[in-house]
Subunit: 198 residues, 2 copies
DNA sequence: AAATAAAATTAACCTAGGTTAATTCTGTCC
DNA sequence: GGACAGAATTAACCTAGGTTAATTTTATTT
């Protein structure tokens, strides 16, 4: 894909958030990354002060606990902004890695430069604001499902919310997304199968 | 407290998020609410399309599961913006109630009007954007603690992060904030006492 | 198609935290 | 200061999900 084409993907993604953004102020060069299935765009602990955009493919945000257990925070499908708001804003190391679950085309801008150039555009600020609102709402819903629902409910919710993802993602990652072990997920699926047969 | 004084509290809170906001565009009238200890500002399921500001006091965001169990999402201390971003943005009923843990003075603006009047001010957008970034980051950290840490760790984290809150809040609410029962929290405290004595 | 590796299932056992209920402690109201 | 209510503790028992390990299924590679 051409660089100009990639940039256009990003521009129209932002515009679709509800604005008429004037992109002429943007002169920051765009980087292109091709990440193969299984590989990491960046690892937990890295510095990741860039705004990434997933043009094609599928990734997961993985964070690893002190005890070495992997936990999937999010799945993200193209086309979408990806990356760590926290790392971009605070400059601190990322709390999760981004792993490609399928071959991906990803591009990126340096966030500080991007924001410096675009912050004077009202339409841009409004779009970015809507983006932040949407990811906040998603996190809030996720928080609620973790505390209120059983693992079985969380699995059913996932299947209902992401019927297509369910087919593209291996079960171990679904388990790590709903916060249980693959063994427990298998058990739950077994029980569901039995109870559905009546 | 005078209405003008209350409005100034809100203005300077926003300004402190890093901007020079021109508030002259704002003509929306401000409402004043006085909420006594134990009372609710609004209940889960209500429509809450206002931007609330907590001038004094302490509240918790409470959501109740289908099985009738209470869960505390957040504690918020004055001075702070409170309310539901989700309800303001989507217009859907709130997923949590706000309960006063101490007597509170709260004021509010209709969000849609407020935003309509202020959205043309770049400095305002930037400040609100920083606010959204900060609440998103807080949620992300909370998500991570829920999945990675044991209840004991979560309790210790809470005590370290909010040493003063710990004294002001009854244990049952701390338990519901870290996602366990009061009985379990009591057990954990007991174990900590024992292990600290060596 | 055979060989290998990775993923999913199943079973046996274990543990953190839930549940219920009795008991003590801490207010706060008259 | 006595009486009552709500909060916290403790104990006994229960359950969802973790752990380990053996077995089968499914994907990859040659």
């Amino acid at each position: 894909m051409e660089r100009a084409q990639l940039a256009n993907n990003i521009f129209s993604y932002f515009n679709d958030l509800g604005g008429e953004i004037d992109w002429r102020a943007l002169t920051t060069p765009l980087d292109v990354h091709v990440t193969e299935k299984g590989q990491y765009l960046f690892q937990q602990g890295d510095s990741a002060k860039r705004l990434y955009f997933l043009h094609s493919g599928l990734v997961r945000y993985v964070s690893v606990s002190d005890q070495g257990k992997e936990f999937t925070q999010t799945f993200a499908q193209a086309p979408r902004i990806i990356g760590s708001t926290r790392a971009m804003v605070t400059g601190s190391p990322v709390l999760f890695g981004i792993q490609a679950l399928e071959d991906c085309v990803i591009s990126s801008y340096d966030w500080a430069e991007f924001y410096q150039q675009m912050r004077h555009d009202n339409a841009f600020l409004e779009c970015y604001l809507h983006f932040l609102e949407s990811i906040f709402i998603a996190k809030e819903e996720r928080e609620s499902t973790f505390v209120k629902d059983s693992a079985e409910r969380r699995y059913l919710n996932f299947c209902q919310a992401y019927p297509t993802l369910k087919e593209r993602i291996s079960q171990q990652y679904i388990a790590s997304y709903i916060g249980i072990t693959p063994v427990a997920l298998s058990r739950i699926r077994q029980q569901l199968k039995l109870s559905n047969q009546g």
